[in-house]
């Protein structure tokens, strides 16, 4: 498992991956794994009304990474619903089930991954 972003010939870095760069339309030339980097919390919320199969409460954050000077953001759950603040440094941590597969509207075998990376406060 990795947390793949793309880089296009014009240097744009985007997460998640897309067949073309959303900013300029060029084909990506490189994949960059964000999972071994640290990022910074841009903003966060604690959601107390969650859909079927989702932990309750659910602390979520926008996290900004920097790849060779270019910012790239990701949305993710905060591990253990820990207390976070804007500006905190966090790192991705793998979870094999972010929400229970097949409980909500999407079938378990849908075009949908159920594992991925949460963020935990950097040690």
């Amino acid at each position: 498992m990795s947390m793949d972003a793309i880089r296009c010939p014009n240097g744009h870095v985007k997460y998640p991956t897309h067949p073309r760069c959303p900013e300029c339309g060029e084909e990506p030339v490189e994949t960059i794994d964000l999972s071994d980097r640290t990022g910074e919390v841009v903003t966060w919320t604690e959601s107390t009304a969650t859909p079927p199969g989702v932990r309750e409460p659910n602390v979520l954050a926008f996290v900004e990474f920097e790849v060779d000077g270019t910012p790239v953001r990701a949305l993710g759950q905060i591990a253990d619903n820990a207390d976070v603040e804007t500006g905190d440094e966090v790192e991705p941590v793998y979870a094999d089930e972010l929400r229970e597969p097949g409980v909500g509207l999407k079938p378990a075998d849908a075009d949908q991954e159920w594992d991925g990376y949460r963020f935990r406060l950097s040690q």
């Binding site: 604690e46 959601s47 107390t48 009304a49 953001r73 972010l98 991925g116």
Partner: protein
């Protein structure tokens, strides 16, 4: 063919928890609109039905066909329009195109959604299914996006939390003047600020309810409108735009690119600017969205919309009233109906039929937001 597009009639059902299912809701608004416009079913060339998810909500597809058949519109061209929460605005765009292009001389637009039979969790999941899989797997909901955006806005612009509550108080107050609104009760700022947390820092009263309802508008060329109505409205500008599917990929969480782009397009077509807008319906699915749209449409400087609300400038007796209908917050938000109902409120304001909510207005604007700013339609209407 350069035609001016007129709106000659409209209707909306009572919004709220309704026993009627989607077919009945749509035909109620459609029938009332035919009557309001004085148009015979035989004269309708095109019918558009704005709806996000009748299949997911109640297992009913083919609803454009149902409306055309039930209202005696056959063999009119019919089409269902889905653009998530902005399906209604997208329907306005399709109806406008149909007249503007000369393809139709009389177009009925009906928008509706039946939602309340689903629990909040299931309804939230249906709406959250519009997100990218990389977002969905984290259990994100649209209210969560609103919470993260609201926190960023308050921190970045040093805006008081109370200003968001004031949006809810204002829109509830307007809703008491709208007999079709889901809620007919005023709320206090204190009550809003003490309501349960849904997506910190946002609380229950920062969110619109889940709603059943339908609304409709009748479109035709201005030359035809003259045969039907003394007072009518024209669509003088309309724009539609799409932003990123993945919300975190936007450069600035407090700027809705789709609002900016669709607004610029609509202003340019109408040949006017934000100062010319007398009254507006904005998509206040969450209180924070009213600020983001006010700024995206240049009603307020970036980071300052909250001051307009604090100063009462957006109140019904302010210099530019916003959401005189009660907005989605108080009127309710039946997804596919909302954009049409926004257009209906502006139409009523322009032809002087808004009753207790009537303001002095020659030009109005409606901004209908799909997803979390993912798709946006901005429409400008002028009185004739």
């Amino acid at each position: 063919m350069d035609r001016e597009v007129a709106i000659i009639g409209g209707s909306m059902t009572k919004f709220g928890q309704r026993d009627a299912w989607i077919r009945e809701l749509l035909s109620q608004a459609g029938e009332a609109c035919l009557e309001d416009a004085g148009v015979e079913p035989d004269d309708v060339d095109h019918v558009y039905v704005s709806n996000m998810a009748s299949g997911e909500f109640e297992g009913q597809g083919g609803i454009m066909n149902a409306v055309a058949h039930d209202l005696g519109l056959l063999p009119a061209y019919s089409q269902r329009i889905d653009q998530t929460s902005s399906s209604g605005g997208a329907g306005m765009y399709a109806a406008w195109q149909s007249i503007k292009s000369g393809a139709s001389d009389m177009t009925l637009l009906v928008g509706g959604e039946k939602m309340t039979h689903k629990g909040t969790g299931d309804a939230t999941d249906i709406i959250a299914s519009i997100t990218h899989p990389a977002e969905y797997k984290h259990g994100v909901t649209l209210p969560s996006f609103a919470g993260m955006t609201a926190r960023h806005y308050l921190e970045k612009f040093d805006a008081p939390r109370e200003s968001l509550a004031k949006v809810a108080v204002k829109n509830h107050e307007n809703g008491t003047r709208n007999p079709k609104a889901q809620f007919q009760k005023e709320i206090t700022e204190k009550k809003a600020l003490e309501s349960p947390i849904i997506a910190d820092p946002l609380r229950l009263y920062d969110f619109c309810p889940i709603t059943d309802g339908s609304a409709a508008l009748m479109f035709c060329p201005v030359e035809v409108a003259e045969e039907y109505a003394d007072d009518y409205a024209v669509v003088s500008g309309i724009g539609g735009a799409t932003d990123t599917h993945v919300v975190h990929e936007r450069d600035d969480p407090t700027t809705m690119g789709g609002v900016v782009d669709s607004g610029e397009e609509a202003y340019e077509m109408a040949g006017i600017g934000p100062d010319d807008i007398d009254v507006a319906e904005l998509h206040d699915m969450f209180t924070i969205l009213e600020f983001l749209q006010m700024e995206g449409l240049d009603f307020a400087e970036t980071g300052e919309a909250w001051k307009h609300v604090e100063e009462g400038r957006t109140a019904i007796d302010g210099d530019r009233p916003i959401n005189t209908s009660g907005g989605l917050k108080s009127k309710g938000h039946p997804l596919g109906a909302s954009g049409v109902a926004q257009g209906y409120e502006i139409y009523e304001q322009l032809v002087g039929e808004a009753g207790e909510r009537q303001v002095d207005a020659e030009t109005g604007l409606a901004c209908n937001v799909g997803g979390f700013g993912n798709c946006v339609i901005t429409t400008i209407m002028e009185a004739r």
